[in-house]
Amino acid sequence: MKHVRIHLVVNGEDYSLFITPNRVLLDVLREDLELTGTKEGCGLGKCGACTVLLDGRPVHACLTLALQADGCQITTIEGIGEKEVHPLQEAFIDKGAIQCGFCTPGMINTAKALLDANANPSEDEIKQAIAGNLCRCTGYNKIVDAIHSCGCQSEKEKGEVR
């Protein structure tokens, strides 16, 4: 099996990597780049724990070959709130939306993509968006609350600017 060179832009930083084709993005992020914030839950695209943003869109890093991400922008949890805590992270803390924390990186990534596309999503839109992110502590109400409050927040800020 020949090694292949790929280029990834992860959290704004360029990486040139020499990898075997049979590696998924999740393993390259965790093992080669040591970005262990992205979690492996089921490894089968069912739980969403490994959700990262590929060119701004949530995808399962466990079902995406690293080669498929060649030349793409990737955001992991390490890239969200890098300098200061992101409002979404703040909201998760405030609302107690974190229990064991294993689903949180994926959950935050999906929520961020949702809020980037729709600054003030309804409860139903939030539930639809995070349908692919399982929380086995079943803390969904607080997670939905957190995302909702963040949406309302950004709406309020917009109001203040006006």
């Binding site: 020949k2 049979n22 998924v24 490894g43 869109r57 079902l63 498929q68 060649d70 692919g132």
Partner: protein, 298 residues
């Protein structure tokens, strides 16, 4: 969960992909979004020696309208198709169906071409395309072939595509007269679930707008392949829209009788047939009411 080693080729054009595929032998696999292929490689169900990826080929994700036909590139992603303005306007049934596939994460990378070629009997994109009488364009080294989607599926995970051919495009004839469609899918939970049974119902009026010009009904998950049910369709074809409501029950019975579901872990065959009956009724009610209201407005 490791994937067995394989050789990887990123095709730069469709022609390049066809040549690579031809040279790689029959166990080579074409990679589109990978939500099925990579999963099956992880589970060791598919062990290709070579994987040829289409992801670097530009312009395979389009949705275009040309001369009364809608052209969809095989690499178009479910998430994009679900909100595509051309599709929403002309053939919204397809948007409804692909918007129900998997999770947002899956829809963001999974492609319509991949969903069709994976050929799950329960694939959500198949029934609406059958009900729209779509065709598929298959690229071969000798040139393109256009095949009606009704003859595309051969069995579970089997299609008419040969090992050295690639699905390139989906063609849908734009409805000429007022039309409406509805896709209903039975699932055990509201999201991220495989369809137990799917019903696609598409109807178009005749040029006067008063009668039903054509009805097409397709079922997913209740036979070895997605199927059309012509006997059920003829119950409604040619009727005045107002009269057609009375024939819905008969139409639904015929559709249920034409389905050939099996007992499996998800549900019994009896239950799936019953669901087909119920869903055809609901779809028909919805579509006929929509057509009736459209006429009221015009």
């Amino acid at each position: 969960m490791r994937i067995r080693p394989f050789d990887f080729k990123a095709a730069v054009s469709l022609q390049d992909a066809l040549i690579q595929l031809d040279q790689s032998g029959p166990d080579a696999k074409v990679l589109a979004g990978g939500t099925d292929l990579v999963l099956n490689m992880k589970k060791k169900k598919i062990l290709p020696s070579t994987v040829i990826s289409l992801h670097s080929i530009k312009n395979l994700e389009y949705v275009e309208e040309k001369n009364g036909m809608i052209h969809i590139g095989a690499m178009a992603k479910h998430a994009d198709l679900a909100i595509n303005p051309i599709l929403e306007k002309e053939v919204s049934i397809l948007c409804q169906a692909v918007g129900l596939i998997g999770s947002w994460q899956v829809r963001n990378i999974g492609t319509i071409g991949g969903n069709l070629c994976n050929a799950s009997p329960a694939a959500d994109s198949a029934p609406p395309l059958l009900a729209l009488d779509a065709s598929v364009v298959i690229a071969t080294l000798k040139g393109d072939k256009i095949i009606p989607i009704t003859s595309f599926f051969c069995g579970p995970a089997q299609t008419i595509i040969k090992s050295n051919e690639i699905l390139k495009e989906i063609l849908i004839k734009k409805p000429v007269n007022p039309s409406a469609g509805c896709y209903l899918k039975l699932r055990r939970r509201k999201a991220v679930d495989i369809s137990l049974a799917g019903v696609a119902f598409q109807a178009e009026t005749d040029p006067t707008g008063k009668r039903i010009g054509q009805v097409k009904i397709a079922l997913g998950g209740v036979a070895p392949t997605p199927i059309r049910v012509p006997d059920a369709e003829t119950c409604l074809t040619g009727l005045c829209i107002d009269d057609a409501f009375e024939k819905i029950a008969l139409c639904a019975q015929k559709a249920a009788r034409a389905s050939k579901p099996i007992d499996d872990v998800r549900a019994t065959a009896d239950y799936k047939s019953t669901i087909v009956n119920v869903f055809v009724q609901r779809c028909a009610q919805h579509v006929l009411t929509t057509l009736k209201n459209q006429r009221g407005k015009s």
